[in-house]
């Protein structure tokens, strides 16, 4: 069987230089803290920066904020984790898996995708597309979806 022995220690005390160094580092930290008491943190989730302005766009930003699109698509909607970028979609979707779908519906692919790709299915969560938007508690209206799409298409 394997022999187990405790690990011996040479000394139980703390050398003076180690204590001095610790105090020095603590002092450096304290000085830095005292010099940085006031200021403004940048946002961890950067707000989207629309290229234009106006009522529909502002409305869309509110809808997007409420629906927390940024939690999936990234702080500036430029994509995050497994979720694609929502920028530069004026001429079509960025995701390759939507290319064929967009060719079938060149004018309203985005609206259909957000609302769910099969409106005949009663449960919005089972329609595919963007069920998070179409399902409760969001249940976006056609006008709201149109505003969101208009805004997204304005993002460079």
């Amino acid at each position: 069987m394997t022999v187990h022995t405790p690990i011996e220690t040479g000394s139980r005390g703390i050398p003076g230089w180690a204590l001095g160094l610790t105090v020095f580092v603590l002092l450096v930290g304290g000085v830095y803290f005292a010099g940085n008491l006031t200021g403004e943190n940048p946002p961890i989730v950067a707000p989207p920066s629309p290229s234009g302005s106006g009522a529909p766009v502002l409305n869309a930003v509110a809808i997007i904020d409420e629906a927390a699109c940024q939690s999936c698509h990234g702080p500036d909607l430029a994509g995050s984790g497994a979720f694609p970028s929502l920028h530069d979609i004026e001429n079509g979707p960025v995701s390759e898996n939507l290319q064929a779908f967009a060719e079938e519906h060149p004018d309203d692919w985005a609206e259909i995708w957000i609302a769910g790709i099969d409106p005949a299915v009663s449960d919005p969560g089972m329609r595919g597309g963007m069920p998070a938007f179409a399902a409760p508690p969001y249940e976006l209206t056609a006008e709201e979806i149109a505003a969101v799409v208009e805004y997204l298409k304005s993002l460079p």
Binding site: H4, I7, S11, L21, V25, G39
Partner: protein, 500 residues
Amino acid sequence: MAVNPKKLRPYDEPPKVRRPLVPDTPDSAATAFLVVSLLWLAAATGIGVLWVATLLFPGQVALTLALELPIIGTMGIDVSRPTVEAGFMNALVFGWLSNAAFAAICFVTPRLTGERLRDDRMGFGAMGLWNVGVAAGLAGVYLPIIAGSGPLAEFPLPAKGLMLLGAVTVLGAMGRTLMAGERRLPYVSILFFALGLLALLGLLTISAAAQFFALDGTPMALVNAFVARGIVTYWILGAALGSLFYVVPRASANPLASAGMALLAWLLWAAFAGLSAVGALVDPSVPFVITTIGSVGTILLVAPVFLAVATLALTIHGRWSLTLGTGTLAFALVAMAFLLGTALLEAIGALRSVQGLIRDTEWEMGVWLLGLLGSATFAFFALLDHAAPRVLRRDWGGSIAVDAQLWGSLIGVVLAGFALIGAGIAHGALRAEGAAAEEVQATLSWFLLVAGAGLGLVALGGLAALVALFVMYTTARRAEYVPAADAPAGEVPAGAQTAH
């Protein structure tokens, strides 16, 4: 056809030894965690090379599919830069490093308490739970419909649940072993492991709860940032320090230089690792002074790291020649150097003036890689080098594969880490000058090429570690008692009573 049993030959008989599905032999849990961790290292670094390729060729290295499945409906599969990056980080932290940390716990705890792990079946089961969770979570990262969001939080909820169960099981096995051992203040390695494991459980629970309650954008981002930083500072750093405090005295055959310094390092680490995680809460909704306290925590983490490294260096005193070859102490020495360097770089990165330059650049990933693939990886390599012959009961003096593991990984980490740090500085500077995106990409591509080559070398180092383990298991003599680390292989005959 009828068979006359009297005419059966021995080779006609079926084998009578039946191996249980869940082994209960001493160190079976540690062995399983060690082997699986190395497989994850090879997988993680392979994904890392792919990640650099997605950075070098944006939009070209990507695969997105939409599958029409019955019941589920449309199932998207997205293999692109964000998902590959998430896969790389998660495979690295939860695959390689966490499995290695669990192996360290299962290997070290019995040897410091003088009790068998209680029990190895629990540990082995924990290995299964954890790794099924990690594998499922990693697959889930590429499925947008079930993936979470945020650094180290992308795994789907069921995967996190399995991982939590696995971690709780390891904690249970560790706790029962400690309770069975001596009732005095445990050795400092146990303190590092215990607090790190408790923190991992707490942080994974917080992450799962945030996902379960589907927090809004900003709160979710804050929780994820806190959890990711906490996992690195408490769990990964704690397990790495705990491993080094075990293997360095063992491999050098010297007593620990100062128990007081080690305990002070643990106390300061316990305090500042948490503060450092608070520093990740950067948002206008968080009072500025709170974020500053967190930044100070990151700066102050230099103190416990320095104390730990100093204690370990003093412990090696008189045996420095052992660090010149390839072996446990060489790996440990590299880990100590990376620990100091990473702590200093993180402290610099925590300064407000520097944050303005490097925020959202490659700097952060570079420092992460130096910490994860440098400090922690080499600490666990040291543990692996020390533990593998003991758990596999082999008389082992190393091979050329161990040299390849050391040098491939060392050169690779240095190249990858500092190339990304350089890319971050260049990116920040070009951004401040208002450079065009094409110019930024062209400049960064050189740094990224170097980083990719570095990660490739680390991947080769990981493969070399696997080869070394295989060669050891298949070619080395079986030894009931393995030679002590300070004795050259071959001088101590198999059967010598020296193992720890």
